[in-house]
C-alpha cells in the first residue's frame, strides 16, 4: 500500500513538473535572478544575443520560450508563469492587459518587424525582378506562412498576398506553420519552395547562405509593430523593468537592427 502511494506521489510530481515548464525554471539561480520570458518566434535569434549581453551586464539570466504570439497569449491567459511577453504585434499584449494578466503601464513597442519572401539558395526563382509574383510560377508547389489565426506574421503574409492581388491564385498552395519558425523550416528543408517569413529569420547567422530573400514592401501589409508587456503575476518585476530599460539602450538597438528589426 505504502509502495503504491509513494509511486503515485512520484508520478503526480513528475506530471506537474512536465505540465508546467516555467515552474521548473522559475527559481533562484546561484548568482541572481532568472527571468522567464515568452517571446514571438521571430525573435528566436535576436533575443538570444540580447539575453547574453544583458546577463553579462546585470547578472540576471533569461530563460526564453519561443512560439506563435497567439499560442503564447493563450498559455499566459491560462496561467503560464512567465515574467515578460514579447509579442509580434500590439494586439495580443493589449488582450492580456484587458484580461488583467499584464501590467498596462509596461506596454512598450520594442521593434518593428519586416516581412520577406524567402526561397532556398538553389531556387531558380527571380525574386529581384518579380517580387511576390514569383509565387505564381508553376514550380512553386507549396508556400509556407505562419498560421494567420494566431501568428501576426501570418496575418501580414495574407495581407501582402491580397495586396499583390495574388492571394486567390495561391491560396490552395499555402501550408501553415505553427509559428514563423516552423514556416521557415518548411522552406529550409525544401518541402516548401517558398515562404513568407520574418526578416529576422532570413538574416539570422544560421540562415545565411541557406536562402535568398526579398523584402516585401512595407505598404503591402499593416506594420508589424511588436510590443512587450510585463505580466501581472511576475515575481521579478524589478528585474523585468531592467530588461525593458536595457532594450532602450544603444547596444540593444544595434542588436535588434542587426537582426533586421527597425526601431519605432
Amino acid at each position: 500500500m505504502e509502495h503504491i502511494a509513494k509511486n503515485l506521489a512520484c508520478v503526480l510530481i513528475v506530471a506537474c513538473i512536465l505540465a508546467n515548464p516555467a515552474a521548473a525554471f522559475a527559481q533562484q539561480t546561484k548568482n541572481g535572478t532568472e527571468l522567464v520570458v515568452a517571446a514571438a518566434a521571430d525573435l528566436s535569434t535576436a533575443l538570444k544575443e540580447i539575453s547574453d549581453s544583458f546577463e553579462k551586464k546585470t547578472g540576471v539570466s533569461l530563460k526564453l520560450s519561443f512560439g506563435a504570439s497567439g499560442a503564447l497569449t493563450q498559455q499566459i491567459q491560462n496561467g503560464a508563469p512567465f515574467d515578460l511577453f514579447f509579442s509580434a504585434d500590439m494586439d495580443y499584449p493589449r488582450q492580456l492587459i484587458t484580461a488583467g494578466a499584464a501590467d498596462g503601464t509596461s506596454l512598450y513597442e520594442y521593434a518593428v518587424g519586416r516581412l520577406v519572401l524567402w526561397v532556398p539558395t538553389d531556387s531558380a526563382l527571380d525574386l529581384d525582378h518579380k517580387g511576390l509574383k514569383v509565387l505564381l510560377d508553376p514550380s512553386v508547389k507549396k508556400i509556407a506562412i505562419a498560421n494567420p489565426q494566431h501568428a501576426p506574421y501570418g496575418r501580414a503574409a495574407v495581407a501582402a498576398l491580397k495586396h499583390a492581388g495574388i492571394y486567390d491564385q495561391v491560396a490552395d498552395r499555402l501550408v501553415l506553420g505553427e509559428n514563423v519558425s516552423q514556416a521557415a523550416q518548411f522552406v529550409e528543408s525544401g518541402n516548401a519552395e517558398a515562404g513568407l517569413v520574418p526578416l529576422a529569420h532570413a538574416v539570422a547567422p544560421g540562415m545565411q547562405g541557406k536562402g535568398k530573400y526579398w523584402e516585401v514592401r512595407a505598404d503591402f501589409y499593416p506594420p508589424l509593430a511588436q510590443g512587450l508587456v510585463i505580466l501581472s503575476h511576475s515575481q521579478h518585476k524589478k528585474e523585468a523593468a531592467e530588461l525593458v530599460e536595457y532594450l532602450k539602450t544603444k547596444e540593444a538597438a544595434e542588436l535588434l537592427r542587426k537582426y533586421g528589426f527597425t526601431l519605432p
Binding site: 499560442a71 497569449t73 493563450q74 498560421n147 489565426q149 494566431h150 501550408v175 506553420g177 528543408s189 525544401g190
Partner: protein, 226 residues
C-alpha cells in the same frame, strides 16, 4: 461556432486507411514475430515497439527532413509521385503507419502465439500449406486479437497530433485533422468550438471502440478442444 466537418471526414479517412494498411502489413510481421525462433528476434520486436516510446515529433522529423526533398529517399519519392511526403494525405498515412504499427502488430502477434501449435501441426499433416493453415486455422482463431489490433490502430490514428503538426502544414481537407483543428481553435481563443469539436471526437471514438469491443466479446472466443 462552426464545426469543421471537413476535418472530421479527413480524420476518419486517415484512420480507416491506416488501419486497413496496418491489417495487411501487420499480419506478416506479426506472424513472423509469433512463430520465428531466430535468436535475434528480440531486436525486431524492439524496433516494432519503438513508436510507442518515441515522441511523434521524431517521426515527424524523419518525414520532414530525413525523408524530405533533400534526401535520396525523398527525391526518389518526388520522382515517383511528383510531390513531397510532407503536406500530403499520403505523407500523413505513411507517418501514421509507423506511429500506429505496434498497436496493430502486438495484439496480432499475441493472438497468433496463443493458437495451439498442435492445431497448426495437425493442419500440416493433413496436407495444408502454411498459407492455408494461416487462413483456415490461425486467423479464425485469432479474430479477437485481429479486431483489437485494428481497433487500436484506428483509435490511435484518430487521435494523432504530433506527427500531423510537424508535417501536415494544416491544409484544410488534406492535412487539417480534427486534433489540429482543436489546437487551432484553442490558440485563437475560440473555446466554444474547441469544446464542441473535442466532445464530438470523444463521442465518435468511444462509440466506434464500444461497438468493436462489444462485438469482439460475443462471437469470437474459441479455445482448444478438450
Amino acid at each position: 461556432m462552426a464545426i469543421d466537418w471537413q476535418a472530421f471526414w479527413l480524420t476518419l479517412r486517415l484512420a480507416i486507411t491506416v488501419s486497413a494498411v496496418l491489417l495487411a502489413l501487420g499480419l506478416p510481421i506479426a506472424y513472423w514475430i509469433a512463430y520465428s525462433r531466430w535468436r535475434w528476434k528480440f531486436l525486431v520486436e524492439a524496433v516494432v515497439a519503438l513508436p510507442i516510446v518515441l515522441p511523434p515529433t521524431v517521426l515527424g522529423f524523419y518525414v520532414l527532413v530525413a525523408l524530405g526533398p533533400r534526401s535520396p529517399i525523398g527525391r526518389w519519392w518526388i520522382s515517383l509521385t511528383g510531390h513531397t511526403l510532407a503536406f500530403t494525405f499520403g505523407g500523413l498515412v505513411i507517418g501514421s503507419i509507423f506511429y500506429s504499427l505496434p498497436f496493430a502488430v502486438q495484439p496480432f502477434a499475441a493472438s497468433f502465439a496463443g493458437v495451439d501449435r498442435k492445431l497448426m501441426a495437425a493442419s500440416a499433416t493433413l496436407g495444408a500449406s502454411p498459407l492455408r493453415t494461416f487462413f483456415r486455422v490461425i486467423a479464425p482463431l485469432s479474430v479477437p486479437g485481429l479486431i483489437t489490433g485494428t481497433a487500436l490502430s484506428f483509435a490511435h490514428t484518430m487521435g494523432e497530433f504530433g506527427v500531423v503538426l510537424m508535417v501536415g502544414g494544416n491544409i484544410p481537407g488534406v492535412t487539417r485533422t480534427v486534433s489540429i483543428d482543436i489546437f487551432d481553435r484553442v490558440e485563437a481563443s475560440d473555446y466554444v468550438t474547441a469544446n464542441a469539436t473535442a466532445l464530438l471526437l470523444l463521442v465518435l471514438s468511444f462509440s466506434v471502440l464500444a461497438v468493436v469491443y462489444g462485438l469482439n466479446r460475443k462471437a469470437w472466443v474459441v479455445g482448444p478442444v478438450k
